[in-house]
């Protein structure tokens, strides 16, 4: 059985009209409203330490086709319910959302294919290196800020409670979110990848990674401009 993170469970929960009203009111009230939006919680200066080498746990990770089927089934149920209530207009809207969710699902699969991650973490920065993709780098000292900005998209990162969140807003309005959590024994990372835009239902995919001991590379390397990485043999461990 696939474990769901609390956040993804919340994401699928239906909100009451009162809660929606409160959320909208808080949005309009501006930043003070946001402070009130979050229940007060004790400041926890200790962040989870993601540092280490991680390999994908295929048995626990979501299968994207199965997740897609589950999402489409849900959309179908919504469509049938709306079809009875509001006629063909909403039917076509739901079909459009269903079409987008397939594209989103394929994109989510594409961007979470990596099977290995190497994470380094200092007091001020978390760096997640993934084969075949750009590293996710979050300067945590600045709390929330954009870490990368280009005409093709903008990336934000920050801590949300004990989760490290990267949000990528692509140029055409598609949002990709990676949400990293560490389990209590520090041996497993779950990465929740969500892909959505304003016309589509979010597609969520959870990938689990288990810690493994990567062999020491045996070299000390320094980046240089003219000669690339210059490496020397690391001192032997006593």
């Amino acid at each position: 059985m696939t474990l769901r993170s609390p956040t993804s469970l919340i994401a699928t929960r239906r909100a009451s009209p009162l809660r929606i009203g409160i959320a909208l009111l808080l949005l309009l009230l501006g930043s003070r409203g946001f402070a009130a939006d979050e229940p007060s919680r004790p400041i926890n200066p200790v962040r989870p330490n993601f540092a280490g080498s991680w390999e994908k746990d295929f048995s626990r990770s979501d299968k994207w086709e199965a997740e897609l089927q589950r999402t489409i089934d849900q959309l179908n149920r919504d469509m049938q319910r709306q079809g009875g209530d509001a006629g063909s207009y909403n039917m076509s809207g739901s079909r459009r959302r269903a079409g987008n969710v397939i594209a989103n699902a394929r994109l989510a699969e594409l961007i979470s294919r990596q099977t290995l991650m190497r994470i380094t973490q200092t007091g001020g920065e978390v760096r997640i290196e993934r084969q075949g993709d750009a590293a996710l780098i979050c300067s945590t000292a600045n709390n929330v800020d954009d870490t990368f900005n280009s005409p093709h998209g903008t990336e934000y990162c920050g801590w949300d409670r004990q989760q490290l969140v990267f949000e990528i807003m692509l140029a055409e309005g598609v949002i990709i979110e990676h949400r990293f959590s560490l389990d209590t024994d520090g041996q497993t990372i779950s990465m929740l990848t969500s892909v959505y835009d304003r016309n589509s239902t979010p597609f969520n995919l959870i990938t689990f990674f288990n810690r493994y001991e990567a062999p020491p590379d045996g070299f000390n390397c320094v980046q240089t401009l003219s000669r690339g990485q210059v490496c020397s043999a690391a001192d032997a461990q006593p």
Binding site: T7, I10, A11, A15, I20, A23, L24, L26, L27, G30, S31, F34, D37, D78, G99, N100, I102, A103, R106, L107, L110, I111, D133, A134, A135, I137, N142, V144, D145, D146, T147, F148, S150, P151, H152, G153, E155, Y156, G158, D160, E167, I168, L170, A171, E172, G173, V174, I175, I176, E177, D197, R198, N199, T201, V222, Q223, T224, L225, S226, G228
Partner: protein, 402 residues
């Protein structure tokens, strides 16, 4: 609205989207998010429009050595830098700040070399601080520096305090300013490339020359005398301070000249000669630093130029992008790949910047080696030396001033 505030609001909205909203309210919230993002984007600082680039500039070179009074001594102070908010928050900000710090030492030497090669001036030295022994002091602030753009705010004042220049200079470099290949550090023939922003330095030199040429011989002689007395006043304010007074415009003027056979003046000349030997040594250190850095810096600037060009092309391609089947997987993956490669390119650029800093670190460290038995960074050594000379002057002239 502050940038950080926009970011925090964005996060809060997205959190609301995830935790509270049904599909209907999600649409409403996303609409609000779009409005907010538009507002935030409109609140980004506007691009500062600067003066036009200097263009092609021919350095005005003297074919014959100018007359003695025209050979003013120039000090080019190590430049200052002004980082923008964008630079402070960009990826690898600390690395780029270090590169900018290196440039504050490197670029004054390029200007110094340009002034020397014009053959229009006396001694031109790079100095860590303001110096009372020079006729003309040039101070610069680096406003922008990358492989494609250089913008300097340059201020030049003579020893009376008269401002010769206070102007922003801008130059751009294109493909033609760089070799077709990335120069090899091992191939000595490619390490002597002309600076891609040489026109900017030539323009500063020509502007300074124009001011000097507007002054007659008498004014130039008076300036040299004023410098001498100013230096003497710096050594001994009690003995020489009263000779210089500010006029109505705040410019220092000579009230009277000391007697030509004043023995104190002879000691001042001796101390000044020693001081010049010291600042010559410091200048040689900066020159050596420039020499050591130049091959690596040339490579760095070429990479930097390529990165700027890539960014511009990337922006242009994003603006002109009309993907068919928007919302399709092909369109999404194409968008993501563009984003991914732009990010990988930037991360590689930061790695190159880091390589530049680590490769030039030994040369920068050498600058702080001890000069004449003094210790600490070169700025501190300079300050120690000034104190030492004052004390020496007091000791040597103790009998004379009583």
């Amino acid at each position: 609205m502050q940038r950080g505030g926009c970011t925090a609001m964005r996060f809060a909205i997205l959190r609301n989207l995830q935790s509270r909203a049904s599909s209907i309210s999600r649409l409403l919230l996303l609409s609000l998010l779009s409005l907010l993002l538009t507002a935030c984007a409109q609140n980004q600082p506007a691009q500062v429009v600067g003066p036009p680039p200097v263009g092609d500039v021919q350095l005005n070179v003297a074919t014959q050595t100018p007359s003695e009074e025209r050979l003013l001594n120039i000090g080019v102070q190590v430049f200052d830098t002004r980082a923008t908010d964008a630079q402070l928050t960009q990826a690898g900000a600390a690395i780029f700040a270090e590169i900018r710090r290196i440039e504050t030492h490197y670029l004054p030497v390029v200007l110094r070399n340009t002034l020397v090669s014009s053959n229009q001036w006396g001694v031109v030295r790079v100095l860590p601080e303001t110096d009372p022994s020079v006729d003309l002091l040039i101070q610069g602030t680096i406003l922008r520096s990358d492989g494609a753009n250089l913008s300097l705010l340059v201020r030049a004042t003579d020893s009376s305090g008269k401002e010769w220049l206070n102007k922003t200079y801008v130059d751009t470099a294109g493909v033609v300013d760089y070799p077709d290949f990335v120069p090899s550090l091992r191939d000595r023939t490619t390490t002597n490339l002309e600076d891609p922003f040489q026109d900017l330095h030539a323009q500063i030199a020509n502007d300074l020359l124009a001011v000097r040429e507007s002054m007659d011989a008498q004014a130039l002689l008076a300036l040299a005398q004023l410098t001498q007395i100013k230096y003497a006043g710096d050594l001994s304010p009690e003995a020489f301070g009263s000779l210089l007074q500010p006029d109505a415009q705040g410019l220092l003027t000579l009230q009277r000249l000391p007697a030509t056979n004043d023995p104190l003046l002879e000691h001042v000349a001796q101390i000044r000669a020693r001081h010049h030997v010291f600042i010559d040594t410091i200048d040689e250190y900066y020159d050596a630093l420039h020499h050591d850095l130049k091959p690596t810096y040339d490579v760095w600037r070429q990479y930097s130029h390529d990165q700027v060009v890539e960014e511009e092309e990337s922006a242009a391609s994003a603006a002109g992008s009309t993907l068919s089947g928007s919302g399709s997987f092909e369109a999404l993956s194409q968008n993501y790949n563009r984003y991914k490669w732009a990010k990988i390119f930037e991360q590689e650029f930061v790695a190159l910047a880091s390589g530049f800093v680590s490769e030039t670190a030994p040369a920068v460290l050498k600058l702080s080696e001890n000069v004449n038995g003094l210790t600490g960074p070169v700025e501190e050594q300079y300050a120690q030396w000034r104190v030492l000379l004052r004390e020496l002057f007091e000791v040597e002239t103790a009998g004379l001033s009583q």
